[in-house]
């Protein structure tokens, strides 16, 4: 599989990266580990005129303890983050989702910034041009239909970041730097809620850091997938518990992770929390397993995860 032509650029600073981005008038993309971007370019889902490799920007590679927050540089590889003291000791949901992301080799290349900004996926979308042409282009490709749900008026692609789901159960903020300066937003503000175009990142903005509030939590992450390795999540559930207050999140269904809070952890309360979450979730047949199976697994995995966490707490 070959890549189409583009220019390759390697800025040494954020300022330089932003200037380069500007030069290409919307035709450039940023490259971190490339484990999401390069396959997308190979499939012709992304056709940039320039690829701006930001890996030389050293400040983005650090993890810093900043009093109330842990600041994680966007270029920190997932594999390194798995071994960070704060993550191991205090954010078990994040630790578990990092462990469950793709496989070790991809964790060594893939960064946390790229993980959060990975594009949404669909069985009928992440395919070659040849394959996609045979069905006709869908909403996400700029067409006027959904190939997963005949007759549907919108896109149902799934945002499959394992770690966005676990970070949704912690207090998490993001720092972005763009042509108009830097801004800091809550993780949930990253998302548009639209599966076809999942992020509200402004043109040229670089995700520079992920801030996680230094709180001591218990928790975990459960991932549904066919193989125990390499596979993207078909469903991801994260749970974090702090001072008797829990947050449960579901990811890999639709445009963004959905979270709900709960303070009682008995079967009925968990069921209630799951029912609240399910109201916002519309799994459809756009993965390798049936939508009904994914839906049925939400309460099963939620109960298992919460029970394990509460018993261990």
């Amino acid at each position: 599989m070959i890549l189409r032509k583009f220019e390759y650029l390697r800025p040494a600073s954020i300022k330089e990266a932003l200037e380069l981005y500007d030069k290409f008038e919307g035709g450039a993309v940023y490259l971190s580990g490339g484990t999401d971007l390069v396959p997308r370019m190979k499939l012709g889902l992304e056709r940039p005129s320039a690829v701006i490799d930001i890996k030389q920007i050293a400040p983005l590679k650090r993890v810093e303890d900043q009093g109330e927050w842990v600041k994680i540089g966007s270029l920190v590889p997932l594999f390194d983050l798995r071994q960070e003291g704060w993550v191991v000791d205090n954010f078990p949901a994040l630790k578990a989702s990092l462990d469950a992301t793709s496989c070790e080799t991809l964790q060594m290349r893939g960064t946390i910034g790229g993980n959060l900004l990975q594009n949404s996926r669909c069985l009928f979308y992440n395919q070659s041009v040849f394959w996609r042409k045979s069905k006709g282009f869908c909403f996400k490709m700029g067409g006027d239909k959904c190939n997963a749900v005949p007759g549907a008026k919108r896109c149902f692609a799934n945002y499959c970041s394992d770690n966005a789901t676990s970070l949704s159960t912690l207090t998490c903020e993001l720092e972005l730097s763009g042509p108009d300066g830097a801004r800091r937003i809550a993780l949930d503000e990253l998302y548009s809620g639209k599966p076809g175009k999942p992020f509200k990142v402004r043109a040229g903005e670089i995700l520079t850091a992920i801030f996680v509030k230094k709180e001591n939590t218990q928790g975990g992450y459960e991932k549904l997938r066919l193989r125990g390795s390499i596979d993207y999540p078909l469903l991801g559930l994260a749970f974090s518990l702090k001072d008797g207050k829990g947050t449960l999140a579901v990811g890999a269904v639709g445009a963004k992770p959905r979270a709900v809070e709960l303070t009682e952890f008995k079967k009925d309360s968990v069921k209630e929390a799951v029912d609240t979450l399910l109201k916002d979730l519309t799994p459809v047949n756009n993965t390798v397993v049936e939508a009904s199976y994914r839906k049925q697994m939400v309460p099963v995995m939620a109960e298992r995860l919460i029970k394990k966490t509460v018993e261990g707490a």
């Binding site: 220019e7 690829v51 080799t105």
Partner: protein
């Protein structure tokens, strides 16, 4: 007109300079320009691991890395593992245990295992399984591959 760039890096201990296109993958450069055909193209999308090489000691899927990205790096391919006539203990062990069926995944398996043993010379069986699950073997010969890595790690 196609733009070429000169990229310098080290391959199997040899410093090299090679003219590449900006959109060329490391796998294409290794196989087509440097005639190092040990790394294989399986899926071409970063999923299967048969194109794995070491970049500064880190196992890397060379089909989804641009050659331009490895400027200044040290690359090890399967061709660079033996020292002269002496094979790496992992290569010996793969032969000894018959851990090769069609052989397509073997270079990637060995290099992934090599990186593991370099950072953790005595991994548990569980750790070997976790590491090797980055790579797909379609002959499903995992048992012997695991045995080979276990044997090499206890040497």
């Amino acid at each position: 007109m196609e733009q070429f760039k000169i990229i310098s890096f080290e391959v199997n201990g040899e410093p090299i300079e090679v003219e590449v296109r900006p959109h060329e993958t490391l796998l294409e450069t290794l196989r087509n320009r440097l005639e190092l055909t040990g790394a294989k193209e399986g899926c071409g999308l970063g999923a299967c691991g048969s194109c794995t090489v070491l970049v500064n000691g880190v196992p890397t899927r060379s089909c989804i890395v641009l050659t331009a990205e490895v400027e200044g790096s040290k690359i090890t391919t399967i061709e660079g593992l033996a020292e002269g006539e002496r094979l790496d203990p992992l290569q010996e062990s793969f032969m000894e245990k018959g851990a090769v069926q069609c052989g397509f995944c073997t270079p990637g398996m060995i290099l992934t295992a090599k990186a593991l043993l370099d950072r953790n010379p005595r991994p548990t069986k569980e750790e070997i399984i976790t590491t090797l699950s980055s790579n797909v073997c379609r002959c499903t010969g995992y048992k012997k591959i695991l045995e080979a890595v276990e044997a090499a790690s206890s040497q």
